[in-house]
Amino acid sequence: MPVFVEDPAQFSKPRLKSELIAHNVTLPAAESKKHVYLELYLKYIALKSAADFSSDEEDVQDSQDCEEEKKKNPEMINPCGLTDDELKATLLKYGFKAGPIVATTRPTYERKLQNLLEPTEHRQNGDTRDEDQYSEEDLEDSGSEQGILEENQVDDIQIGRHFRKNLNAEFCYHQCFMPSSRMRVQRDPGCFEYNPRRNAGNHGNAAEMSGTEERRPQIPLSPVTHEALQSRTSSVLGLATGSPVHPQSSPLGGGGDPDSTHSSRSFSITQMIEKNLVSSSRSAVKSGLNGSSPQGPSQRPHWQESAMEDKFTMTNSSLCITAKSPHWKRQIKEEPITDVLMEMFPETEPTPTGISATRRRPIKGAAGRPVSFKYPDLLASPMAQQRQAVEHRLVPLWVQILVFLGLCSLIYVLYAAMDNSLDNPFVSLLDNLSLETATETEGMLLHTEH
């Protein structure tokens, strides 16, 4: 799985500094040289993004030691860089419902998270930070080859991993409106408006690289695009995904934001990913103010937060149900849409990277899928339950009808019998009465005659 990592040695000193700040690493003395920062960066951040082994050991040692060391702990290890909410969200992602995360419970939950992280670490190298992955998948709408490959892997993966995947899918569901609009608006102009310009050559790659100020006036940004962009910059501002951002936010987030437009307009996926990395790392600089963490993921945690907060309002069961469906739906949808893409862009050469670019399409399809498709399980499950209930009842119902008929016949027989038996005594009584009266009258008559 290709991971696009920039060489930290090429980072500027301020950037290294900001990265370190973003990762809660204590900075060396102010007059230190670049290599000091670089060392620190490699030690903490690169290791973190590669694999957590060393910091795990540190954690184990620390946890067995006394409290002072445990207080240092939060700066040292990965889960400790998270806020309480992020930690809770991450745990939830792994299928663990965390209780309240307070001062006394936090270390426990951090260890729990690391226990959960460990099994997944061994399988995929260099991708321990799920935020990394999410951010990548989010930025590319999880359509890159990596995303698809992983999806194919899902079946032979442990449960914890599976949960994570589901929740990942949940994200796509959560953002089903915003990203789709974003991608549509950003992409389509890029394809249809921008290609001619590039072919004309008056705005080459140089213009693309140079800056946005040139570009912005040329491209009429629809409100939706703005919103989409703001949704990206919203991570910088720590706002929720779909929430409206104040107009000044776009100049504010000018560092990361224009790059994202660029990346969406250019076709080469590698360029795109690089841009995204740059933009995300830049926004990491900004989000460093918020005390949020790492490089690629710097956008992610906020998305997560918002997503998770929304999720908390739902029931957990429905969460799982909704999560599963987009997952397999997406896989199903892949094939037809790639064809559509090929139809739409016949002039684009199917280079390896280009193919991965076309593969991105399905996720858009998944993200833009109508809401009704999102809840097949939810809609189906009550129906199925009803059907099951009916099925359960069917055999007894059959018997019930028989019993009912039997009862009816029995009652009828009883009634008939009662009818007869009722008739008889009355008739006999009446007969007797009439006989008696007849005899009495006869006797009376006889008496009178005498």
Partner: protein
């Protein structure tokens, strides 16, 4: 934990009130002292931790081990004692 200790029975028999942390089953003098150092001086404080961890056995055991270095049996005793107390008094 097939058989319950005397301490367990005593603790579970009545509301814990202001009992010291060492009244908990599995928490002896040493562990009690360590817990007190960490601020868990009363049994109800430990109960609070137990509850805030949502009565989760794994998490509580982990916490107890981390906080006072309790071994597996002590963890089990303390967990069982608190859980049973909760079952009857909560």
């Amino acid at each position: 934990m097939s058989s319950t200790s005397q301490k367990h029975k005593e603790f579970v028999a009545e509301p814990m009130g202001e009992k010291a942390v060492s009244a908990l089953a599995g928490i002896g003098e040493v562990l009690g002292k360590r817990l007190e150092e960490k601020g868990f001086d009363k049994a109800y404080v430990v109960l609070g931790q137990f509850l805030v961890l949502k009565k989760d056995e794994e998490l509580f055991r982990d916490w107890l081990k981390d906080t006072c270095g309790a071994n597996v049996k002590q963890q089990g005793d303390c967990y069982g004692c608190l859980r049973e107390w909760c079952d009857s008094f909560l």
